[in-house]
């Protein structure tokens, strides 16, 4: 395997593979953050999470088309507008869904799974009816394309760096919201003891709605970022849902740090294995390992030990 490469090449391999792993890591974190909030904090299994992401992607596509035809001079900056719009659109849809559907099911987590699966089917067909069955391509502004030459053999893609920065920023903001802001404290209070939180004057319904909206909004941003590397079609969202859930569960559902750590572990494992075997087998092995570890340590990597 290594015989064909020189030492310098090998160094470059590991540098670039590491970077590929970091991009995958960012992607996983983006996908999983929203779900970690919804599933980890609220206990809702949102199978339509992928469809919220795709909504963000479609919003990005529409924004880019709009800028192309109406504001071509500002095209290079459209992506930031698109991300904000994606957040608003997915977040708003999320709040609507919470109001219409989820709030009736807080006591039946497995039923949220079924109901949101139904929702995902409806959303998929809605996308197909509105945007057509074909995939849409989002054109990136010039500055996001291409790569940066680090050394002779090592190049890093610019959109990869962008995704990583975006992930970092969103993670910081989410961590701040959940752990430092007053609102985050309310969310955690509601999670721990709904009745008590209500009794001390927290509007639990409002907290639920905004938490769900926030989770979906982050999914929207993730979808927006995905247009840079992946495809946008009515059923694209389904591809991500299992991976995303595994990342969250593997990390230990209630811990944001665990989610990030598990995204890192899984992405590095997968990208390293992909180098040595076929993509299919790498995927199978990664999933199998996660399942095996979850069987041994069902609470995930970073779960608190508490009296139940």
């Amino acid at each position: 395997m290594f015989g064909d490469y020189s030492i310098g090449d090998l160094g470059a391999i590991f540098a670039m593979q590491g970077f590929a792993g970091l991009i995958l890591f960012s992607v996983y974190v983006l996908m999983a953050l929203g779900l970690a909030i919804i599933f980890g904090q609220m206990g809702v299994i949102n199978m339509a999470h992928g469809e919220f992401m795709i909504l963000g992607a479609y919003v990005t596509w529409m924004t880019s088309s709009f800028f192309q035809s109406h504001l071509p001079s500002l095209f290079s900056g459209y992506f930031f507008v698109a991300m904000i719009l994606a957040f608003i659109a997915s977040g708003a849809l999320g709040m609507l869904v919470e109001w219409a559907l989820i709030r009736h099911l807080y006591k039946r987590p497995l039923d949220t799974l079924l109901a949101t699966w139904g929702l995902s089917l409806i959303l998929q067909q809605a996308y197909r009816s509105v945007f057509g069955a074909r995939e849409v391509g989002v054109e990136l502004p010039q500055w996001m394309m291409g790569s940066k030459q680090v050394t002779d053999t090592i190049e890093v893609p610019i959109n990869g760096i962008f995704v990583m920065c975006l992930t970092l920023a969103i993670t910081v903001v989410v961590a701040w919201i959940m752990y430092k802001s007053r609102w985050g404290k309310q969310v955690r209070a509601v999670v721990q003891n709904r009745v008590m939180a209500g009794a001390v004057g927290i509007n639990t319904e409002k907290v639920d709605r905004y938490t769900f909206g926030l989770g979906c909004g982050i999914a929207g941003i993730a979808g927006s970022a995905f247009t840079m590397i992946g495809s946008t079609g009515p059923t694209s969202g389904q591809l991500y849902i299992v991976d995303t859930f595994l990342v969250v569960v593997f990390g230990g559902a209630a811990s944001l740090f665990g989610t990030i750590a598990s995204a890192f572990t899984i992405s590095q494992a997968q990208s390293t294995m992909e180098f040595f075997m076929s993509g299919s087998m790498a995927k199978v092995l990664t999933l199998l390992t996660i399942v095996a570890i979850l069987m041994i340590r069902p609470q995930g990597l970073f779960a608190l030990k508490v009296r139940k």
């Binding site: 608190l304 030990k305 508490v306 009296r307």
Partner: protein, 251 residues
């Protein structure tokens, strides 16, 4: 079952029992002993670790260190169902009965036979089972409600039903977590009467806040505070212990 059993000095010996949850020691180096046919009541303020002690004995929570010996068997190494089969019964704080089953079926499930998967497939509801279920139902005042679904019972009746479910297991050590909490005055009286009939030939470990009730039934009282024993002895002795008065009875 106990008849003819070789009496030992202690039925239950808890020694150096410690459990910590992420550094917080809910039970800290606890030791106490329960004799045959003794009624022991554990009291203590909220968060003293009373329920945790029961959890540790019955295997619901795994101890960090220490030992729990029951008739010479080390319980900390056994699984929950093995602990039950060794002769320890546990009633939970909130009544845990099966709402979708009838009173009869609730009791029948606790009947100590056919506890393996295939045993339960082959289980036959024979005369012995019926008799025993009816006998216990009589004791817990639910004889005329055998065919009712458990979800229509009152709170007190559910507590009795759960006590009945333990009774039918015929354990050597019965552990009750606040058996009269939430009961009406008349129900409390009946429960005390019920407990007095069922403690024959077995030891009982009770957690209770109701001092009147404790006084009525306790042979010996253990006072827990912050996971450790504050005082132990007869009700009288404990009541007069200044340490106890300070942390618990005083306020």
């Amino acid at each position: 079952m106990l008849v003819g059993h070789q009496p030992k000095e202690f039925l239950l010996a808890v020694e150096g029992l410690t459990v910590s949850f992420d550094g917080f020691k809910a039970v800290n180096d606890l030791s106490f002993y329960v004799e045959e046919n003794e009624i022991r009541v554990i009291i203590g303020p909220n968060g003293a670790g009373k329920t945790t002690v029961l959890d540790l004995i019955c295997g619901k929570t795994k101890a960090t260190s220490g030992s729990v010996q029951f008739r010479g068997k080390e319980l900390t190494k056994l699984k929950e169902n093995q602990i039950v089969q060794a002769g320890v019964g546990r009633k939970f704080q909130t009544p845990s009965v099966y709402d979708d089953l009838t009173v009869f079926e609730n009791l029948e499930i606790s009947y100590p036979r056919g506890r393996s998967v295939f045993g339960s497939l082959m289980f036959k509801r024979d005369a012995a089972v019926r008799e025993r279920v009816e006998e216990v139902a009589e004791m817990i005042f639910l004889k005329d409600r055998l065919n009712m679904y458990a979800d229509v019972l009152s709170h007190g009746q559910k507590q009795w039903l759960e006590i009945g479910m333990l009774l039918i297991q015929d354990p050597d050590l019965l552990m009750l977590d606040e058996p009269v909490a939430g009961m009406s005055v008349s129900e409390r009286g009946k429960t005390a009467e019920l407990l007095n009939t069922i403690i024959k030939n077995r030891s009982v470990l009770v957690i209770e806040h109701d001092m009147k009730f404790v006084e009525d039934i306790a042979h010996k009282v253990t006072v827990l505070h912050q996971g450790q024993i504050l005082s132990e002895g007869t009700m009288e002795k404990v009541q007069n212990d200044p340490k106890v008065i300070e942390v618990y009875l005083g306020h």
